[in-house]
């Protein structure tokens, strides 16, 4: 390998916008001249859609289901900016073991030395939802990725999933697993959303890498089967993703997080709930007074 390969993994609650964020990071990195691979680790195999004009690609597991011998290159497709797109794939909902699918797919590419042969600068693993079993922990625990980032909004369930991820990282940190790079705060449009995520970050000693506002530009781009970087390169949102990508590319030092335990997390969320109710009440009283 002629250069240092940077491997990162992006986790977060299902539906939080991981694939959107990851694809835009990949697109921005490719735009800056880096050789990038995006490795989707979701059984839905839709991580790389917006890099391929909305098109699905055959997953590693689909190919392995068809035949026993698979050349890893058969599962690698190029997308926007020359990005190498791979989907691990997995079983149908309610069937089989999705975690095993990730293990198998990652193993295939590692054994066939694909990362070295393609001379990549960055590999980004876009991992399904939460760390629910051994399979989903693979990119973290085996140090396949060196840095983990989590996408989280200020919603409690997103934070809950992020905290679970921190627990996983903490668990594997002593055995050479990946460490935490930080939180990508997604859909942050109001002050109180920012306060909540900032507070969680502070309590878990985790940096916020970037605040990403919710934007119609992203929705429009996705509906056209593209990333924001491709569809609206001059938009403010594209600039947000570029800055995020720059920070991730420059990121060198990740740390062991300090997750909250179950009780602490409950108490923390209850305090925020009280705080928000009080704030809402104060606001409605203020409006009544004005009226």
């Amino acid at each position: 390998m002629s250069k240092q390969l940077k491997q990162i993994a992006i986790y977060g609650k299902g539906g939080i916008g991981k694939s959107t964020t990851t694809s835009n990071i990949s697109a921005a990195l490719a735009e800056s001249g880096l050789k990038v691979m995006q490795f989707g680790c979701d059984p839905k195999a839709d991580s790389t859609n917006t890099l391929r004009g909305g098109e699905y690609i055959p997953s590693v597991l689909e190919l392995l289901a068809e035949r026993r011998r698979v050349d890893a290159y058969e599962a690698i497709f190029q997308g926007f900016g020359g990005i190498y797109c791979v989907e691990a794939g997995g079983p149908q909902p309610g069937v089989g073991c999705a975690g095993r699918g990730i293990i198998t797919a990652v193993e295939l590419l590692k054994q066939q030395r694909v990362f070295e042969e393609l001379d990549l600068d960055v590999v980004i693993y876009d991992v399904l939802g939460d760390v629910v079993c051994g399979g989903f922990a693979v990119p973290v625990r085996e140090g396949i990725a060196e840095h983990v980032f989590t996408v989280s909004s200020s919603d409690f369930m997103a934070i809950y999933a992020a905290n679970n991820l921190f627990r996983g990282i903490e668990r594997f940190s002593s055995a050479g697993g990946a460490l935490l790079g930080g939180i990508i705060a997604n859909s942050i449009n109001t002050d109180f959303q920012r306060e909540i995520i900032d507070d969680f970050a502070a309590r878990t000693a985790t940096p916020i890498v970037q605040y990403v506002p919710r934007s119609l530009t992203v929705t429009q781009a996705e509906l056209s089967g593209r990333t924001t970087i491709e569809a609206a390169p001059n938009s403010a949102q594209a600039e947000v993703y570029r800055e995020l990508a720059r920070r991730i590319a420059d990121h060198t030092e990740s740390k062991v997080p300090t997750p909250l335990n179950q009780q602490e997390l409950r108490e923390w969320s209850a305090r925020w709930a009280d705080h928000l109710v009080a704030a809402e009440r104060a606001e409605s009283e203020r409006q009544r007074e004005v009226a």
């Binding site: 026993r68 011998r69 698979v70 050349d71 290159y73 058969e74 073991c97 975690g99 095993r100 293990i103 193993e107 295939l108 590692k110 054994q111 066939q112 030395r113 079993c133 051994g134 399979g135 922990a137 693979v138 625990r141 085996e142 594997f172 002593s174 055995a175 050479g176 697993g177």
Partner: protein, 507 residues
Amino acid sequence: MAINLKTSSVETREQRLGTIIGWDGAASSLAEESAFSRGDCASCGSSRGAKARRVCELQGPFTQGSVCSEQMVECQAGNVRDAVLVQHSPIGCGAGQVIYNSIYRNGLAMRGLPVQNIRFVSTNLRERDMVYGGAEKLDRAIRAAFDRHRPNAIFIATSCASGIIGDDVESVARACEADLGVPVIPLHCEGFKSKHWSTGFDATQHGILRQIVRRNPTRKQDDLINVINLWGTDVFTPMLKELGLRVNYVVDMATVEELAQMSEAAATVSFCYTLGTYLAAALEQDYGVPQVKAPQPYGFAGTDAWLRELARVTGREALAEDYIAREHARVKPLLAALRPKLKGLKGYVATGSAYAHGMVGVLRELDVEVDGSLVFHHDPVYDSEDPRQDSLGHLVETYGDVKHFTVGNRQQYQFYNLLQRVKPDFIIIRHNGLAPLAARLGIPAIPLGDEHHALGYQGMVNLGESILAVLQHRKFHQDIAGRVRLPYKASWLAEPDPFALARLATV
């Protein structure tokens, strides 16, 4: 195709070599389809670059019974004398150790080594562990194994169960290794990973290469030869002594130190390329120990070529020529006496792949007719990719074609049709499960438990005598055949094509 020792788990034979488990036709056709000869089979699509080779494969609708990769780890890593094998599996996966223990004890006795029992510990994974993960149990088992046996290395066999739940065997092993101060070596041999159990050999050897073999050795033992073998009689020591060489038997019944010193040896050989292809190629690639690239040491042609290549690699040509001449002179009269007694007989070989190629050659040397053979899998190429190791090609070129050459995964129901097709006088096997069915057809079996029995010049004599011995039982087997019924439907018993079901499934 370079061997990749950087990853913790071995690449399966299907992926690495294009191994198949279903094929039927003439040996010459299979040799021609295999990569040594011309690379990809056009009708099955091409493979890219240096990856797996493709040979057309017959895929049956079901697999009746065979063994798995984990069992090959049991019988290799489990037989390292001063190590312990921890099986991270349900207890049932360790059932095979009962038979392996008897083989191990016999092997030790035959080699004049202290007889001992196999030392293995099962983590006994249960339903609860499948849900909550078995890592803590594995940690406890490794430490218990160390306390009980004080081994010089601990191997961990994974299993389907631990693989499905994705247990983090690697980090448990790393932590234990740091605490215990001996190599703790995960061997990734989940049974579902490969359709062929020989991947289990590779998994064991992969772990040994990564964690036991001495890197950058300070000394070189110019007269030491790594001999990759199983439990057979010590035929290599006297043979190699003629060339002024010493034997380092690996993997079975070796000590951890004997495994470690493999990187110091002058060369690596094996009795069978199915077993030895991975370890020998990796020793050459990563440690600079040359592997002998020649036909296997069976029959005159194979043994001559094998000895000459070993002599060339180690610079002992004159000694080898002298030895070859003496052995030819000694053995030829013995064979001349055997051949008239064996002429007109028909033999059938049903063993592992490369070993069968050698056995057919020996039978032909004895004037025994062979028009059928079953091998349990076929590697279209070995890891060296060197045509000098093309054992099937060597067989066809030296001894002529085998009309009914079958690749099949030890399927009893097919074995019936295979034997009916050629109606042999006896069969040669290494896996005893095949003998009962043959016996029911009135055919006696020669079980080559000692895999070195037919090796080299003396091996031809040995096998000839074994054939004569087993034919003494012919009447007994014919009596059995006259009194038993097979459990198959009349339609199947009348089926001339052993792969009829596979062809039906393909349509």
